[in-house]
């Protein structure tokens, strides 16, 4: 870059034009295979999903044009609407609560002369790396009639509250939600703790001299420095709520009834068990639009405050 600015003479510029063309060709050579894979296995199917969403199709016979009927179904069909609504409610468990809990923990562990809790942070991160299927299986048994949750309730004399949680029309959804908190809190803490490390220690010392307690230090020093990290953590976890599949599929399959149905599971059911491919595609398109909206809104919020 700097060398381009250093020789602004016309002949050099012409030479640069030619060499930049050549360099473009070279760059395209490097990009050919990566972009081919991306286009064929990601971009193309995504466009096909949009295409399929405007048809009725059972996966075998002829496609019937459907106009926007599949999208109307997403808005009007109770099952599909419930799934979308649940994905927003799941954000409380996958995004809002983990961010708040992790922020509180960050407040406790940051500041001068405080231990960094590396081992504990590494442990809290573990759910991020486990196979979601295994997480679903483990929690299925935690909530089982003879599982740990009910056992613990009996220990503390609350045996009357014990129940088969995942079979409950009221509680199954919240049971899944708790797993969301379990999975994503450690990720949020990793974001915030690494962000907090960049805060100059003098700021804490200055706040201390001003007589600010821990809570004040957190509010006035740590929190403002974590703006970027909070936006990113919220974005990543909100997307994980919207596209949740494995854990819900294994734990409840969306049930009982549709009480814990989420778009991911419903896309699979509509697409591969009841073969309403058009409807499944419309739901998938709405889902990816929601992801885009979340990303744009969070980015905007982050920029506005910056």
């Amino acid at each position: 870059m700097a060398s381009d600015v250093a020789r602004p003479a016309p002949p050099a510029r012409r030479a640069r034009g030619r060499s930049s063309q050549r360099r473009s060709r070279v760059a395209y050579l490097y990009l050919a295979l990566p972009l081919a894979f991306y286009s064929v296995f990601m971009l193309l199917p995504w466009i096909q999903t949009i295409f399929l969403s405007f048809y009725h199709w059972d996966g075998i016979g002829a496609r019937q044009p459907a106009g926007i009927q599949n999208y109307l179904a997403v808005l009007q069909n109770p099952q599909l609407r419930t799934a979308i609504q649940h994905s927003f409610e799941l954000m409380i468990f996958f995004c809002v609560l983990p961010v708040l809990i992790a922020l509180a923990m960050t407040g406790l562990i940051t500041g001068p002369r405080r231990p960094r809790w590396h081992l504990i942070r590494a442990i809290l991160f573990v759910p991020q790396i486990l196979p979601p299927v295994a997480i679903g299986v483990m929690w299925q048994w935690m909530y089982a009639p003879d599982g740990f949750i009910n056992q613990a309730l009996k220990w503390v004399g609350l045996g009357g509250v014990a129940r088969p949680w995942l079979a409950s029309f009221t509680w199954a959804f919240y049971a899944v939600g708790v797993v969301g908190v379990w999975v994503t809190t450690g990720l949020c803490l990793a974001f915030f703790a690494s962000g907090a490390q960049k805060v100059p220690m003098e700021l804490y010392e200055a706040a201390e001299i001003d007589g600010g307690g821990r809570f004040r230090q957190f509010l006035s020093v740590t929190l403002p420095h974590l703006r970027g990290e909070i936006v990113i953590a919220a974005t990543v976890t909100a997307i994980s709520a919207l596209s949740a599949f494995d854990i819900v599929y294994v734990m409840t399959g969306g049930g009982p009834g549709t009480t814990s149905i989420v778009p991911g599971v419903l896309v699979y059911q509509l697409g591969f068990t009841t073969f309403q491919v058009g409807r499944a595609s419309a739901l998938a398109v709405v889902l990816s639009l929601l992801v885009l909206v979340i990303i744009s809104v969070f980015r905007l919020v982050g920029r506005e405050r910056a």
């Binding site: 700097a2 060398s3 930049s20 070279v26 760059a27 395209y28 490097y30 990009l31 990566p34 972009l35 894979f37 991306y38 286009s39 064929v40 296995f41 990601m42 971009l43 193309l44 199917p45 995504w46 096909q48 399929l52 923990m105 406790l108 442990i123 809290l124 573990v126 790396i129 486990l130 196979p131 299927v133 997480i135 299986v137 483990m138 048994w141 003879d146 599982g147 056992q151 613990a152 990720l187 974001f191 690494s194 970027g228 990113i232 990543v236 997307i239 919207l242 596209s243 599949f245 778009p263 896309v267 699979y268 697409g271 591969f272 595609s281 998938a284 990816s288 992801v291 885009l292 990303i295």
Partner: protein, 273 residues
């Protein structure tokens, strides 16, 4: 006093949180050591550990086959994914070319596409191509799906290399390939290692794609095998728990060895967007 109280509160909160995270793991490990046929999954210490549950689970669920399938898929995805990520990252990080911002934006938009939004057409496309029920039906889409993150990750690494280094080599007449191979790659090892660890984990844990693309039990991977195993043997919980531990073990081992790569990769990869 206040200081002491604060320290005590911090310690309590952190230890309780860690205990909460470890609890389901502890429950499953303990259950996996109970006598076969045990029907509870609460917290109780086995009177004497039944290690043979692991051997039984291994043969009952056919883990030899499942692990081999998972290994083969990972062996396909990780090397190809890394090579392509490096090539694309090199182009985006070091080179100037026409339509660079546009191409980069299109590629990065893939970060926002959930698997749910591509699996339906992908299934029909791959079936028509005769690839359904083969490892390729999982390997190829995963290599494509990992491209946005991988290219982004490697671009950030290469863009951080001082321009003087590559400029000097170019003036000396080094080809773009020599620059990549001789000058950039040696120092890119840590970045590539982090990406490798993440790719391995994402491949190993992948469920939805395998569920849809591979219905033939002979080609299924470990997480899928676990889900089926749990469906079949609902009554023998120690056996199922042992199976779950077996599926978890490889990623946990990789995590223990490369813990920093995981946290750095997953946080930095998202932060620099």
């Amino acid at each position: 006093m206040n200081q002491l109280g604060g320290r005590f509160a911090t310690r309590t909160v952190m230890l309780l949180a860690a205990a909460g995270v470890l609890l389901p793991l502890l429950v499953i490990v303990l259950t996996s050591l109970q006598p076969p046929g045990t029907l509870t999954t609460g917290l109780s210490w086995p009177s004497h550990p039944n290690w043979h549950n692991y051997r039984d689970a291994w043969s009952a669920a056919g883990f030899s086959k499942l692990m081999r399938a998972s290994g083969l898929v990972a062996a396909g995805v990780v090397p190809f994914g890394l090579v392509f990520a490096t090539l694309a990252g090199y182009a985006f990080g070091i080179m100037d070319f026409r339509f660079k911002p546009l191409i980069f934006t299109v590629l990065m938009s893939g970060l926002a596409v959930p698997y749910e939004a591509i699996v339906i057409p992908l299934y029909y496309d791959l079936k028509n191509a005769g690839l359904a029920n083969t490892y390729f039906a999982v390997i190829l889409p995963l290599v494509g799906a990992f491209m946005p993150f991988g290219a982004f990750w490697m671009r950030n690494h290469f863009a951080g290399v001082p321009a003087a280094l590559t400029e000097a080599a170019r003036i000396d007449g080094a080809s773009s390939w020599t620059i990549l191979w001789r000058i950039l790659l040696p120092s890119a090892r840590p970045a590539i290692a982090t990406l490798a660890v993440l790719y391995f984990m994402w491949t190993w844990n992948q469920f939805l794609l395998v569920l849809i693309m591979i219905q033939d039990p002979a080609h299924q991977t470990a997480p899928l095998g676990l889900a089926l195993f749990v469906g079949q043997y609902t009554t023998n919980l120690p056996l199922l728990s042992a199976g779950t531990v077996i599926v978890i073990a490889p990623v946990v081992i990789v995590y223990v060895l490369f813990q920093r790569q995981f946290t750095v990769g997953l946080t930095q990869g998202a932060l620099k967007e």
